[in-house]
Amino acid sequence: MLVVTTENIPGYHIDKVIGHTFGVVVRSRGLGGNITASVRSIFGGEIKEYTEMIEDARKVAIDRMIQNAHAMGANAIVMMRFDSGEIGQTMSEIVAYGTAVVAEKN
């Protein structure tokens, strides 16, 4: 499945636009991770516990978006974007979304 952030795919033409597709996930770091992250934030630098949480969330969001596009019969996603939000103080929401299309090689 080809996933691009551009509107068009060079070398391909969009045969059919199926519709929007998305993948959403909300993750929390957990008590131990939040405590160690709080201690780390006192000294500054990268908060690895949260980088880990966001990286996992990104992967899951993309996986879900692609599975949804696949279920819709698409073979590519164009205009893919990420969005993020915060729920409470320790939960993070990541959404990956784009337009599911059927693309064919020129």
């Binding site: 499945m1 996933v3 957990g30 008590l31 131990g32 991770g33 405590i35 160690t36 690895k48 516990e49 980088t51 880990e52 990286e55 992967k59 993309i62 996986d63 692609i66 599975q67 596009a69 696949h70 279920a71």
Partner: protein, 75 residues
């Protein structure tokens, strides 16, 4: 009061130790081969938490993705 404080401390210590173990396991994950039916994609990224390069595989019949560790150089 002291029992309550000790219990709180115990919960925090267990949480920190379990987080430490979880992170160590993540760093020492084995390299798994992609299952049958998966196709190699052009998507490659370096996991920012481990520094390990990952190759993405895709299963066109199910829409699933698989992350293969291709670089053993860890942070």
């Amino acid at each position: 009061m002291s029992i309550y404080f000790a219990l709180q401390l115990l919960v925090i210590i267990i949480a920190i130790i379990s987080t430490f173990i979880y992170r160590r396991r993540r760093l020492k994950q084995r390299t798994l081969q992609p299952p049958a039916g998966f196709q190699k994609t052009n998507e490659i990224f370096i996991d920012p938490t481990t520094g390990v390069q990952q190759q993405v595989w895709f299963n066109p019949s199910t829409g699933e993705r698989f992350y293969e560790r291709t670089d053993k150089n860890k942070k």
